[in-house]
Amino acid sequence: MRLDILTTVNAERAARRAVVTITDIATGKQRVLREAQIGADPMADVVEKAVRAGKSGMVETESGESFVNVYLPPVRIVLIGAVHISQALAPIARIAGYDVEIIDPRTAFATPERFAGFQLDADWPDVVLKQRPLDPYTAVALITHDPKIDDGPLIEALKTGCFYIGALGSRKTHARRLERLREAGIADHLMERIDAPIGADIGASTPGEIAVAIMASIVEAFRKRKMFADKRGEQAPR
């Protein structure tokens, strides 16, 4: 790998954008494609397919074998709400290998003592998400139970196409939430993406159990590649 290609790959990954390298095996020649450059490449079709599937692999070309290596940003989980469930979910997510951050403007909840060692922001979600925007490789769980805090990032997550969006609350609470979203002009097919009641249906009751249920749903969404819009039956947000 050329050093300039290595630098580009690392920079794109740091910026949480997909990046692809293509290596001609016979000659060792290599090129790098940023997300925005894929469409114009002679191998656009096969590269786009590889990115959507999240799979690197060999392809046959006229000049012989080429290896297409797909680098997707690491998956991260954003928890809106520094609540009891989040205290259980943050370490579970870390053990499962996912990056986690917690956002809650209520400083009584968002204390470093309650979330030692985790990225924690005691600020409004819109302020925090301006600095570190959501993207399709991010899962969002809204668990404050407070529409003032949850609704903003929920709408943002739906517009961004986050691969998992879960919202805490009973069916009644969720019905009211959908009404508010409809008033905010969110399309029905987007609202269907919300996982509510949140988490895998395992009869979870305690905060720790609910955390397990949410984690299970996030893993499912990631491993079944719901981070790719076409796997969710949608057009990719562009």
């Binding site: 050093l3 290595l6 690392n10 990954r13 290596t23 290896f67 690491p74 290998g97």
Partner: protein, 119 residues
């Protein structure tokens, strides 16, 4: 001769991907000569998915993995040659190649690993 590859090692959310290339960049920045090994094809139950990286320097220091630890030794030896020659090389490991390589994937899988200099 090699530890049984653990299936769950395939699951690490591609974090290895980034870390290895970040390590490669760090090592290159301090003037180490490097090779990058990449799993380019797998058959059967291979322990690491395609795209997995291993970075190696001339001293035999390495970071990352291309298998569950079964063939890394052989890859490192080849990588040092690749750094010297400056030419990429394709390696193949698996049950069928055991006599040729004296290493194999105990899981019964087969992998192809491309080793290239970082220049």
């Amino acid at each position: 001769m090699s530890a049984a590859p653990r299936k769950n090692e395939t699951s690490g959310i591609d974090v290895s991907h980034t870390d290895i290339l970040a390590t490669a960049a760090d090592w290159a920045a301090i003037g180490r000569k490097l090779a990058l090994a990449t799993v380019v094809e797998t058959w059967g139950s291979a322990p690491r998915p395609t795209g997995s990286h291993l970075v190696i320097d001339t001293e035999g220091n390495f970071e990352g993995s291309v298998s569950g630890g079964c063939v890394e030794g052989a890859v490192i030896t080849e990588a040092i040659d690749v750094i010297e020659s400056g030419k990429g090389k394709m390696l193949e490991f698996g049950v069928a190649d055991e006599t040729a390589w004296q290493v194999g994937l105990s899981c019964g899988g087969r992998i192809r690993v491309y080793v290239e200099p970082v220049v």
